[in-house]
Amino acid sequence: MSVELFIEVRCEEIPARFVAPALEGFAAGLRKLLGGLLVEADGPVQVYATPRRLAIAAHVLAARPSVQKIVTGMPIAQARVGDAWGPGALAFARKRLGPDAGPEALFEHNGFAAVRATEGGGSTEKLIAEGLEALVLGIPFKKSMHWGDRPERFARPLHAVLCLLDGKRVVTTVAGLTTTDLTVGHWLLSPETFPVETSARWLADLRQRGVYTDRAERHTRVAAMLAEAARADGLTLVPDAQLLEEVVNLVESPGVVVGRFPQELLQLPPRLLIESMKVNQRYFPLFSVAGELSNRFVVVTNNPKGDPALIADGNARVLSARFHDAKFFYAEDKKRPLREHANKLGGTVWIRGLGNLAERQAEITAAAVRLGALTDADLTSLRLLGGVLKADLATLMVGEFPELQGHVGRLLAESEGYAHAIAIEEAWLPRHSGDGLPTSPEGLAFALAERMTLLSRCFIAEMEPKGSADPQGLRRAAVGLIALVLALPTSGDAASPGSLGALFALAGVPLTAALTEFLVARLRATLLAEGHPVDLVDAVLAAGGSDVPSIAARVRGLAALPKEELAAVRTTFRRVAGLGKDHTSAVYALDLLQGEAEYQLHVAVKALPAVADPASLLAALRSLRPVVDRFFDEVLVMCDDLPLRGNRLGLLRTILDRFGGFADFSRLGGE
C-alpha cells in the first residue's frame, strides 16, 4: 500500500522561463531519492508550479523492505589476535552495527572478517527527512543566487518548504527553514496561512482562494479569458503559444483587462506596435476581424479582483509614453531622406579594424549587384537600394528600437518611392535558423552578399569563432548563407552557382580554405538537422566539392529512396567500393568479359549518361543497382585467374569513378 508524499516549495517570483526545466529536474531528483520506494503504478508523479511555488506529489511505500547483507572488512590475518578478534575487527563491527556490537557479531567470510548488516528497512520518512534539503536545493535553475546570510543557492529566496508523508509533516530543515504543513494563498488576495493534508486538498483549497497551481489548468483558463476578452470587444486575437506560456508562468491568479492606446498612434509601423506590446509588456494585441491591428490590447494580470479601469489605464499609459517617443523619432527620421541618413554611416565603426558602416554598405552592394543575375534581381534597383541599405541604422527609430533594423529602412524607402524596397528588410533574413527567407530576388541578392562579405572579411582577419565564442555571429551567418544558397532559383534563366568557389568568385568576394571548410561543416550540420542518416551525408560530402545545392540534392535524393531500396543501395555500392577502391586502373578489356551478368554490367556502365546533375546520377545509380547485384550473384570477382580478376576490378573501378562525383560509397554504412 502506497501513501502520498507531497512537497511544496515556496519562494519569491521565479522567472517564467525557469519553471518548466525546474519541474523536470525536481521530478528527476525525487525519483533518484526514492528509487524503488516510488510506486508509479498507484499514480504518476505530479508537478505543479506558480511563480511563487513549485510542488510535487508522488505515491511512495511507507517503509523500505529490509535486506540482510554480509559486509566484509580487513583480511582475517589482520583481524585476529591469536584466537580472538583484534581491536581493528571490533572497531569495524562497531562502525557497521553500532556501539553495542561485540565480538559475537563477527565471523569469517572468504578470508575476511565480516558482519551481517541490515540494509534498508528504515522508514521512508527518515529517508525523506535526510534527503529533502539536497532534493530541494538540487532543483536546477538557469541562474541561481544567494540571499540573506545563507550559503545555499536557489532561483530566488526560499520562504518555506512544506513536506507531508501520508498527511503528516516530515520534520527537517531546508536552508535553515524548518518544514511546515501550512501554506498560503495569493500574496495579496489570500495571504493567510492554512493547513494542508493532501495534494488534492491543497489544489482545491488554493483554487478556492483563486490560486491555480496546475499549469495546464491555468493555461486553459488564461486562453479562455483572452478569447472571451477579444470576443467581448468584437475583435480577434492572433494565437501566440510562446507568449501565452510565458504569461501563464507569470501569474498565479490570472485575470484579464483590456486596455487601449490613442487611436492616432496606429500611424506607427504595426510591427513596432506589436513587438512593443508583446516583447516589452507581454500584452496580446487585438485585431479587427479583417486582420487590422486595433488600438486595444489584453493584459493578463495577477489580480483578478483589481480595478479594471485603473489597471487598463496604467498599462495604456506605459504604451502611450513608449509610442509617443517612437512617433517623435519616426517623425524626426522622416524629415530627411534616407540618403541623408546614409551619409552618417561613415562615422560608425562596423567591426573594429574592418571599417565603418558606409564602407560596409558599399561592399555588400557591390557583391549583391554581381550576384543579381543569379537571383534574377533588377540590377538598377539593387544599385539604388544599395545606397541606403544600412541607412536606417543611423535613424533615431532604430537607435531606440534596434529590433526594427531593416524594417524601418524598408518603410522609409517605400514612402520615398524606391522600387523593391522590401529587399532592405529581407537583407536581414534569415535572422535565425528556421526563420523566413527573402521572397524578392533583390532581397535574396542582398542577403547572400551580406553574409558572404561578413564571413569572408572575418575569416581573412582571422576572427573565426573559437569554442563557444562567436561575437560576430559567424555560425549563424554561415547557416543562413547555406539556407539562402539552397533557396536560389534552379530553373529559368538563372545560372546555377556551382561550387562555393564559383559563387564567391561571382560575387567578387575572397574565399579562404578555412572558410570553405567552415561552410561545408555548417552544410553538414544543416543536412543532419534535416534528419538525414549520417552515413549518407558523409558519403556525399566525401565525394568532395562544395556545390551546396548539388550536395543537398544528392543527400536528399538518396535519403528519399524507399527503405528497402536504400538498404540495397548501401549494401551493393559499399561492396563495389570495397572491391574497386584499391584497384588503380579504371580499364577493362571486352574480350575478358565472361558470361551474361558480366557483359550486361558492361553494357549498363557504357550506357551511363554523361551528365553530372544529381537527379540523373541518382536515376542512373538506381537503374544500375540490380545489374550490379546480378553481377555479384553470378561472378566471382576475386577469382584465382589474375588477368580475369584485374578485369573485373577494372569494371568495378569504372563504376566507382563514374559516381565519384556523387558519393564516396566506401562511407556508406549499414542500416
Binding site: M145, L188, L250, N302, T348, V349
Partner: protein, 322 residues
C-alpha cells in the same frame, strides 16, 4: 496641512525617507559627486563589500548625459532622482516591506496589478551584478529590485538587497501627469508668516538646467580635455590605491565613470573603444574593492596606525626588560 505623495514630488521624497527610516535605515544624503546611478554612492557600492550588516536609504541624483533632451522630451532627463535603499543581509520579508513602501506613498495595491518580472542587473564598470526583478505596477516599471551577488568583482559574503525607485516616473504616475516638467514639486500654500507660497513645478526647478546641461553634454564639452581628464583621474585612482587609500581612490573612479559618460554623449567614443574604457574603469573598481575589503576588516585603531596618526602599542619583549 502637508500635501500627500500624490500631490507633490517633495512629499513623495519625504514619505519614502520616513518609511525606510522607520524600518531602521540610516537616511543618508546624496553623495557630493556626479554619478550615473545611485549604486555608485559609497553607501551602496563600498558598503556592499563588507560582511557587516548595513541598512541605508538616500536620494541620489543620477546624471545620464546621453539622455539629456534640452528639456524638450516629456519622459527623458539628463539629470533625475533615484531613491535608493540597501539592506544587508537581505531580510526574508523584504518583498512585503517593499510593498509596504508603495502603500506608504498612497498606492492601493488591491486595486492594481503588481508584478515581479525577471530582470537581472549588471554594472560592467563596477564589476557588479545581481539577480532580481523590475517591479511592474500596472505594467509600469517602478522599481529595480536586486539581490547583489557580486560587487567589485568579488562574490559577496552577505547578500544585500537593493531597491531603486525612479522617482520622477513614480511621481508622474501618482500625480497623473504626462510631462515630467508639469510635476508639482510643491503646491501653492500659505507660509507660517502668512505669505503665499506659489506652486513650484519640476520644470521651475530643472527645465533650465536640462537645457544648458544638454548644450554642454552634446555640443560644448571639450573632448580633448575630457580624454586627458579621464587619464588623469585614472592615474590618480591608481596612485591612491597604491597608497592604500580606497575611499579617495573611489572618488576618482566615479570621476572616470562620469567623464566616460560625458565622452559618450559627445560621441567621442566608438563602439569598439567603449569596451576598452569600461574595462579601464572596472579594473580600477576591482582594485579599490580589494583595498576596501582589507581596510574594512581593520579596527579604527589599526587604520589610524597605518595612517601614521597613532603609535603602535608597545609590544612586550620576551624575556622582559631590564
Amino acid at each position: 496641512m502637508e500635501p500627500t505623495p500624490r500631490e507633490s514630488f517633495q512629499s513623495l521624497l519625504l514619505a519614502l525617507q520616513r518609511y525606510w527610516g522607520g524600518l531602521g535605515c540610516v537616511i543618508l544624503q546624496p553623495y557630493d559627486m556626479p554619478m550615473g546611478a545611485g549604486t555608485f554612492h559609497p553607501a551602496t557600492f563600498l558598503r556592499a563589500l563588507s560582511p557587516k550588516p548595513w541598512r541605508a536609504a538616500y536620494i541620489q541624483p543620477s546624471r545620464r548625459p546621453t539622455d539629456g533632451r534640452y528639456g524638450e522630451n516629456p519622459n527623458r532627463l539628463g539629470h533625475y532622482y533615484q531613491f535608493q535603499m540597501i539592506w544587508k543581509p537581505s531580510p526574508p520579508n523584504i518583498q512585503q516591506l517593499y510593498l509596504g513602501s508603495l502603500e506608504a506613498i498612497g498606492l492601493d495595491l488591491r486595486a492594481h496589478d503588481v508584478r515581479f518580472v525577471e530582470d537581472d542587473w549588471e554594472s560592467p564598470t563596477l564589476g557588479a551584478s545581481g539577480l532580481g526583478w523590475e517591479v511592474w505596477f500596472d505594467g509600469m516599471e517602478v522599481t529595480q529590485f536586486t539581490y547583489f551577488q557580486q560587487c567589485g568583482g568579488v562574490e559577496l559574503a552577505s547578500t544585500p538587497v537593493e531597491l531603486t525607485y525612479g522617482l520622477e516616473r513614480l511621481a508622474m504616475y501618482l500625480q497623473g501627469v504626462d510631462n515630467v516638467y508639469d510635476l508639482c514639486w510643491v503646491p501653492e500654500g500659505i507660509n507660517p508668516d502668512g505669505t503665499v507660497r506659489p506652486r513650484v513645478s519640476y520644470g521651475d526647478v530643472f527645465e533650465w538646467n536640462e537645457l544648458e546641461q544638454a548644450q554642454d553634454n552634446f555640443e560644448n564639452a571639450d573632448v580633448a580635455e575630457m580624454l586627458r581628464g579621464f587619464d588623469v583621474w585614472e592615474a590618480q585612482a591608481r596612485d591612491l590605491v597604491g597608497r592604500r587609500l580606497p575611499l579617495p581612490a573611489y572618488d576618482c573612479v566615479m570621476m572616470c565613470s562620469h567623464t566616460f559618460n560625458m565622452l559618450q554623449a559627445r560621441g567621442a567614443i566608438s563602439v569598439a573603444e567603449r569596451a576598452q574604457y569600461i574595462k579601464r574603469v572596472r579594473d580600477l573598481a576591482l582594485d579599490v574593492a580589494k583595498e576596501y575589503i582589507r581596510k574594512d576588516a581593520m579596527t579604527r585603531q589599526e587604520r589610524r596606525i597605518e595612517a601614521g596618526r597613532e603609535q603602535p602599542p608597545a609590544v612586550a619583549v620576551a624575556g622582559g626588560a631590564t
